[in-house]
Amino acid sequence: MEKVVEVNFGPQHPSTHGVLRIKVKLDGEIIVDAQPVIGYLHRNAEKLSEMGLYPKALIYMDRLDYVAALNMELGYILSVEKLMDVETPERAQWIRMMMVELNRIASHLVWLGTHGLDMGMLTPFFYCWRERERVLRIFDEITGSRLLYNYFAIGGVYSDVTPKGLEMIKEFVNTFPDRLEEIQSIFQKSYIYAKRTKGVGKLSLEDAIGYGVTGPLLRASGLKWDLRKNQPYLFYDKVNFEVPVYSNGDVYSRFLVRIEEMRQSVRIVKQVLEKLPDGEFYNKKYAKPMLVRMKGNGESYVPTESPKGEFGVYVIGDGSTIPYRVRIRSPSFANLQAVSIMLKGYKIADLTATVSSIDPVFGEVDR
């Protein structure tokens, strides 16, 4: 006689990457149904952003995807700049691009390290964190903060890159690819890792598009869709980089996509270092006393490619100094919906591999 058992996974579990809870229905060890339950970190970022001045909402953007805070800031700042028709100096835009790509590397390293932990490998965690700390030291030097930066401003960036910071970045991009090779080989030489990830957590391209999945998950399912290429913002049309695409749609392909993205980010940072022009790092018209008088009217949305997928902030201004509506389109929220199809029919032991391959960050899922 068949009997379906219901198991709760989370909200406290070492491999939920925060506070995810999944209600899993099991038939033996086969997953029949899986429903994610979210909201354990709902801290009303959208409403709090609508309670203060335009520049003040930036701190809530930082805390959305806290492992890639600069990417989140960029989405909001670009949208507000479009709303207010603010001109940004070229140097500021190049600096933004460089910082965002460095943060993408840091974010993917967090993912890679914790993915290793979920797969039962402790070594990659230490290797990834060693590299990540180097990126954080660069951020500490340039922005003055380790994790949440509050660095981008309307009309530029808060501080210029220091010569020491540039030296650190150069040293990092020159040595990182070899170290990445080392980390990648730990995973790829492991027979167990391949067994646990190849053909697991499959997501077809049709389902991925249907659920609004973006970012590395979509590219691992076989669609070449990267907003940096397809709808360029900043100066992404002036640098050369490839968009990695794999068509299997399993956990292993997502691993390969993210690894290759880190290599491409290094490539972009190298090109930015060559092309970085001299000049102002912020628009003098929007210096600090001006910030409190900034008014926005109309609506705007600029989609950006964050490490997790398409991120954008839809801002509506009613002519006052306070935004009327701030709607956050967060990638992990959309990606997480697809977890039920990704899990159906697989074994309970594949659950941690699949969930960690989505790379959800609950700051932005629950907002």
């Binding site: 925060g18 354990y40 801290r43 806290y66 230490f126 990540r132 700390e133 380790r146 949440l148």
Partner: protein
Amino acid sequence: MTDSILLTTLDEALRWGKGKSLWPFTFGLACCAIEMMSAMGPDYDWARFGADVFRDSPRHADLMIVSGTVTKKMAPRIRRLYDQMAFPKYVISMGACASAGGPYVRGYSVVDGVDKVVPVDIYVYGCPPRPESLIQALKQLQDSIASGKVRH
């Protein structure tokens, strides 16, 4: 004479031992959890201070680090996890959110401080605190356990 003989009471020796063998609980809530992981990572390496055995089950752990915003939905779960921990147990409230609500204190779904839910021994300021601050908090907790200020 004093060089070669160590005079102590059993109680003191026990307290010293307790402080130096804390087993923290793998329990991340939000942004601060990433800095907590940095503290256990290779650069800050807080295994040096005798608290390296991160346990995934509350039943094995002595030290709960509340690292992030406590929401009204999560608060009962935190209490339940705390109740599941065996004595002696200690709590570090890490960061502005866990200590007092932080930037989200005006939100309708946020508990303004985890001390409304569980008793807290050490508060750490910062948003998020640097790993050095967390290590300092750990050292403070160890000192107060050894001197008998914290008793459970």
